[in-house]
């Protein structure tokens, strides 16, 4: 009889292990960038393509960097939360439009010239913001996703909280829900702005 308990115990332990393991979110990869300076970039601003913006322009401010694209389905889910946030909270929210055209998958990039891609990307991004509301203080355009790589972007949408010294304090992968905003992001912003 004793040995049956033994096996039952081992089985229960295995079930417990799997229950914990399978309930973890495999997308929740800890970012090594947290606590590090936000990687530099200098990208064209969507509203004023002749100007550029980078993290050094935001020095001295606590700000959010939100990675989005019009082809990103989860961004649509998160968008109302951001719109609401921008109305209520006085924290700069910078959009990083990630691979607007080539990330879409519906275009043959080998047949598209750089100028054409740029024009199309700006058109698409502007239209999307016009349709869904624009929560962003500014949006910058990362056409080829090179800046995305520096930020370790692997699943849009992603959001970074960057402090006054330009250090990344938090990274959230996936859509921001009201819960994430209320429980994680808002308290952090309040603390950083103290």
């Amino acid at each position: 009889m004793n040995r049956y308990y033994w096996i039952l115990g081992a089985f229960a332990a295995l079930v417990a292990l799997l229950a914990i393991g399978l309930n973890l979110n495999p997308r929740d990869v800890p970012s090594p960038l947290v606590g590090k300076p936000a990687p530099a970039f200098n990208l064209n601003v969507l509203a004023k393509p002749e100007t550029t913006l980078g993290p050094k322009d935001m020095q001295g401010k606590v700000w959010l960097l939100n990675v989005w694209a019009s082809w990103c389905v989860s961004c649509r889910q998160e968008h109302p939360v951001l719109v609401e946030f921008s109305k209520k909270v006085n924290v700069p929210l910078i959009g990083l439009n990630y691979k607007e055209v080539r990330g879409d998958g519906g275009f043959d990039m080998s047949k598209m010239a750089a100028d054409e891609e740029k024009k199309l990307a700006f058109e698409r991004a502007n239209k999307w913001l016009a349709d869904h509301g624009d929560p962003y203080t500014l949006t910058v355009m990362d056409l080829d996703g090179r800046v995305g790589i520096d930020y370790g972007v692997y699943g849009v949408p992603e959001t970074y909280v960057i402090d006054k010294a330009g250090l990344i304090r938090m990274k959230h992968t996936g859509p921001i829900t009201p819960e994430v905003l209320g429980k994680k992001i808002m308290p952090l912003l309040a603390e950083l702005n103290k």
């Binding site: 081992a10 295995l14 090594p32 590090k36 998958g105 080998s110 996703g145 790589i149 520096d150």
Partner: protein, 169 residues
């Protein structure tokens, strides 16, 4: 038998622990003209292939960036290719990936505090299994030896009596 099953179970868990490389195809997709042009250099291509097989694609997490055809894997292969062209060492290229995506991109994560269970777990489970097997076998031997004792005088006479009862007259 039950104990033996436990052992088999333990070994099974050990064999499926992370760190096992996935056997399915290392097919390498050529996706654009520029890649094909750069591929003309077989030495660089071999390094790219080797490095790509060490790096995990974060979109389809069970594939290397060599196997995966996800957009991000293509972008990362392009980055690796550019870095090879720029004469970066393998270590510099791997560090580039780790600073951006963390140890998670490495199919062979470094041995350190947080990964000790990952590396030591399978070995620990195997040792545990061997220990259980050894204990089981030892007990079994003692049990068999105990049963193998010759019959005592009392037992022999009882056996004789039983046999006689059954002998047809």
């Amino acid at each position: 038998m039950k104990r033996l099953l436990t052992l088999v179970f333990a070994l099974f868990i050990a064999s499926t622990a992370p760190g096992t490389k996935y056997p399915w195809g290392a097919a390498f997709a050529m996706d654009s003209a520029t890649e094909a042009a750069l591929a003309a250099d077989p030495v660089a291509e071999k390094r790219l292939q080797k490095l790509s097989e060490e790096l995990r694609c974060l979109v389809c997490q069970n594939q290397t960036i060599a196997d995966s055809n996800a957009e991000l894997a293509q972008d990362l292969r392009r980055e690796v290719r550019t870095m090879i062209k720029d004469g970066k060492t393998d270590k510099e290229i791997v560090d580039f990936m780790v600073t951006r995506y963390g140890d998670f991109v490495l199919y062979r994560p470094p041995v350190k505090g947080i990964t000790l269970l990952l590396w030591g777990g399978p070995v620990a489970l195997m040792l545990l299994g061997l220990f259980i097997l050894q204990r089981y076998l030892r007990r079994r031997t003692t049990r068999i030896n105990a049963e193998d004792q010759p019959l005592s005088a009392d037992e022999a006479s009882r056996a004789d009596a039983l046999l006689k009862e059954n002998t047809p007259k």
